[in-house]
Structure formats: C-alpha cells, structure tokens
C-alpha cells in the first residue's frame, strides 16, 4: 500500500532512471508496440509522481510498478481510440533474424499471455509469484503459460527448444 510523501526532484529522476527499463519492457511485452509502450511508460511514471507512494521494500516497489504498468496497458487497450485504430508499423529493429521472428510470434499471442511470458522468462518470477502479483490463481498462470509455450512452439516451427516453463519453475 502507499502513502503520498515528499520527494525531491533528484529523487524522482533517480527513481525513474532506476526503473525505466523494467517499466518499459513490461509495457512493451504487454502491448508489443513501441508507440503504445511509450504511452504506457509515460502514464506509469506520471501516476507515480501524482501519488508519490512509499514502499516497504524493493520487492513491493517492483510489484507495484509491474501491476500499474499492466493496468495502464490494459486501459490503453480498452480505450475507444486504441480499439478503433491500427498502430503504425514502428518497432524495434532487433539485431538477429531469430529475434525478429520471436517478436513476430509473440505478437500473435494474447496480450495477457505475452505479459506472463515476460514475467516468467525475463523477470524471473515463479508461477506462484506471478499469481500473487496479478492476484490470480497459480493454476491459471500455469495453464496460460503452457498454452503460450505450445503456441510459440508452433509459430517458431520447432526452430528453438521451447522448454516447458513448468519444468523450469520452482
């Protein structure tokens, strides 16, 4: 939980710089569009600045940022404008063809599943931790991760070893 407190301009700048990669990557994983990730990134830190919450730990702070980022991305999708418009094909130019291929495959997953893939494979959260973070059931997380893995395996045409995420879990 949070309570507004006083922060200096330098503290706010340091906070944003420290967490910019985390927020941006979660936003990108959820939206899969650079322009949308830019919007969500901005929204998350403006929410932070408006509330200036304090956190009991870095873990709590990180969880808050991830949750707010996913909420902002969800609302971004839900807005009439974004439902009725098609994003410009602006995206990151990945260094390797296989990375571009993975980005394209991820684009075909449901947005919520992309977020799970990111939290599991990149942020290193276990399915239990993701469930707590997203306030859902562990079984739901595991089912969706398994489904995402299976779809990626098909989309990547077996070029890569899409390991069972549950076997890598705790």
């Amino acid at each position: 939980m949070t309570a507004r407190s006083q922060r200096t301009a330098a503290e706010i700048e340091a906070f944003i710089h420290r967490h910019s990669a985390l927020v941006y990557r979660v936003a990108y994983a959820r939206t899969n569009q650079k322009a949308d990730a830019d919007d969500v990134f901005q929204e998350v830190f403006l929410r932070y600045a408006a509330k200036l919450p304090t956190f009991e730990s870095e873990e709590h702070q990180r969880a808050w940022l991830i949750r707010v980022t996913l909420n902002c991305a969800s609302k971004h999708y839900a807005s009439f404008w974004n439902r009725k418009t098609t994003a410009l094909p602006e995206d990151f130019a990945f260094a390797q063809p296989e990375e571009s291929g993975l980005a394209e495959a991820l684009r075909q997953l449901p947005a919520k599943d992309r977020a799970l893939v990111h939290l599991f494979y990149y942020e290193g959260y276990s399915t239990d931790e993701i469930a707590k973070l997203l306030r859902t059931k562990t079984s739901t997380v595991r089912t969706r991760l398994t489904r995402a893995r299976a779809k990626l395996k098909v989309l990547l045409k077996g070029d890569y070893d899409v390991e069972n995420p549950l076997s890598a879990d705790d």
Partner: protein
C-alpha cells in the same frame, strides 16, 4: 532455448533517452505541483466537516457555491459524490475518522482524517507507510494519498482509493479500515558527503544471498549464473561510516569488475528511513548506480497460523537489518577523483496505536 532468445530480444528494448528525460520533467512538475494553499486546505477540512453534517454533497453544493468550487478544484472527480460516514475511533490520544466515502462501479473513494488530540505528533509529513490495512469483501488493490494537513486542528486528511480486481463492481456490506502506526516529522537530507577515500578499492569478499528486491537495468541483475536466490553481494564489514540516523555504510569494494557499495539500515520497517547513494566525479557529474539489490539479515521468522506452519526469510524481528547494495559500472581510475554522496529521507517520530473503523459499503 526460448528463455535465452527472449532475453536477448528484450534486452534491446529500451525507452528512448529523450522520452525518459521528457517523462522525468513531467513527473517532477506533477510531483511539485503546488499543494493547495492554506486557505484552500482549510476549506477542504471545513467542507469535509460540512459534508459530514449533510445528507449528501449535492445538497452542500447547492447551498454553498464557494465551498463547492474549492472542493471541485481539489478533487473534481469525487467531490460531487462524497457521502458522509463520520465514524471515529480513538486510541493513544489520536482520533481517526472515516469522514466520507463514494462507491462507484469497481472503485471506492474514502476520505479519512487523523487528528492528534493531545500533542504534536502529526504534521504535514505524516506517512501511513503500509501500516494500514483495509478489510473488504472483494479482492483488489488500494492506494492512500495524503491530501492536506491543518495545523490549527492538528488534523491530516487522506484519500483512500480501492480498486476491485478485474474491474468488477464492488459488492458487499462493509469495509474495515485500520491503522496500527504512522510516522511523522520526516526530513530530507540531500548531498550528504560520505567521508571515505575511494582510491585503492579492490575486489572484496562476497557472499551469496537471497534477494528481497532489486531495481535498475535488469540485464545486469539476472543472467544464467545470477540467481536471485543466490546472488553475490559484499560481506558486511560492520560500520565503515555513518550515513544518517540508523543508516550506515557497511561494505564497499569490487565484485566481478563492478563497484558495490553496501548500505545497512536498522529498523527500516519501523521508521521507513531510506536513502540513495551516488558518486560525483571530478567535474561534479552525478554517476548513478547501474542497479541495486536488496537483502536482509536476521529476519527469519517461523510461525503457526491456524495449525499450519509458515516461515519467511523476510520477517520482522528486532535484529533485522535491511541492506541495499548499489552497483556502479565505474573503473578504479574514475574513482580516484570521485566522491560518494547520499540523499536520505528520515523520520524522527513513530506513533503506534490501534485505530479501526468499520463502515457500511453502499454503492450509488
């Protein structure tokens, strides 16, 4: 491996520095937007008192356009709909009152006031810092925003916002809001110079710990050989230098070519004292850490709840020490002319009590 490929791909996803800088400026502007001036704060308190004496705020609006304007400027989204609750409890000379609430769809807006009836323990820096809890008949998240402080009545006002998970409409009959402690009289110390020579630092003894948190540029933090359950940090060396009240520099040195600076904080969960370390180079340029990790010592707790055993390595014990380790990508050459500084936020007063109010939940 999908994991490796995904990490390589996402490592390349970064916000444009121009975007980051623009967001920093916007955030600073938002955070430093002027607080309501004194007459408006008083008006807010006055208006809350009035709102609690009336059946509905709409009636107030019609009776006092001026107060309505003040309230509207402060919180237009909720001002029109607040309904009086006015339920209080008192402990340790502090009165907590749930003044008004507004339940709409998946969101609950609640205004509470906290008043010191005996002393001067409340000021404009009051912070509930996770010491409050909200029992409600639904899952969801909540935030608590400080609205104002009135020195004449020693009363602080907060806006609690609860959001039901999955955006389902809020259902149920009541909410219980409780607070067990708060901190106040907070002070910010900036650019505190750390009296420590940084030249000649070498590789230092490391240990593997389970991280309680982390932040920064993630690719540095978690890679195949870097497990958050066995992460290399410096071995604490005692008090190398005092930094601020209950905060000390506990170790410094290189691990795998990166400078680690370790800060130890005692009673962090009680006083929320915290800080950030950074370097200033010869030209006075600020060098921020690339990332930081957190871990705790002496915090293992085992307990039995309803017959089931639980244990945690991040429990609250009198001996608990919270460590933050700031990791810098700087060479020993750069360090020769650099100095270590810190910004700290300290609280000098912790007030404990048992304040709890249950109030009816009535959606519009």
């Amino acid at each position: 491996m999908l994991k490796t490929l995904y990490q390589q791909m996402i490592d390349q996803v970064k916000p444009n520095p121009t975007l980051v800088q623009a967001v920093v400026l916007q955030a600073q502007s938002t955070a430093q937007a002027p607080s309501p001036p004194a007459h408006r704060r008083s008006a807010w308190i006055l208006a809350l008192a009035l709102v609690c004496s009336m059946a509905a705020f709409t009636a107030l609006a019609s009776s006092s356009d001026t107060v309505y304007q003040w309230l509207y400027q402060l919180s237009p989204a909720i001002a029109q709909h607040l309904k009086p609750i006015q339920l209080s409890c008192e402990d340790n000379g502090i009165r907590m009152t749930v003044a008004a609430a507004y339940i709409h769809e998946s969101c609950a807006e609640i205004i509470i006031t906290v008043q010191d009836l005996q002393a001067n323990r409340i000021d404009e820096t009051i912070d509930l810092f996770d010491s409050y809890s909200i029992n409600r008949p639904f899952d969801g998240s909540g935030t608590c925003e400080f609205l104002s402080y009135d020195d004449a009545t020693k009363t602080a006002t907060f806006h609690i916002q609860l959001q039901e998970a999955n955006n389902h409409p809020i259902t149920g009959s009541k909410i219980t809001f409780s607070v067990c402690q708060f901190i106040s009289h907070k002070a910010n110390l900036t650019a505190v110079s750390v009296p420590l020579a940084l030249n000649g630092l070498d590789e230092a003894p490391a240990q593997l710990v389970r991280l309680s948190g982390w932040g920064g540029d993630d690719p540095h933090v978690f890679r195949q050989s870097r497990d958050r359950n066995a992460y290399p940090v410096l071995v604490p060396q005692g008090e190398l230098a005092p930094l601020a009240d209950s905060i000390t520099l506990s170790a410094i040195g290189y691990i795998n070519g990166q400078l680690h600076v370790q800060m130890a904080t005692r009673n962090k969960l009680q006083n929320d004292n915290h800080g950030e370390l950074y370097l200033l180079d010869k030209a006075g340029n600020r060098i921020a850490c690339s990332y930081l990790v957190n871990f705790v010592e002496n915090a293992h707790v085992e307990s039995v709840i309803d017959g089931a055993s639980y244990s945690t390595d991040f429990g609250i014990t009198p001996q608990r020490v919270d460590f933050s380790e700031f990791v810098f990508d700087v060479s020993p050459q750069t360090l020769q002319d650099a100095r270590l500084y810190g910004d700290f936020t300290l609280s000098s007063m912790l007030t404990a009590g048992d304040w709890q109010v249950t109030f009816p939940l009535v959606a519009e």
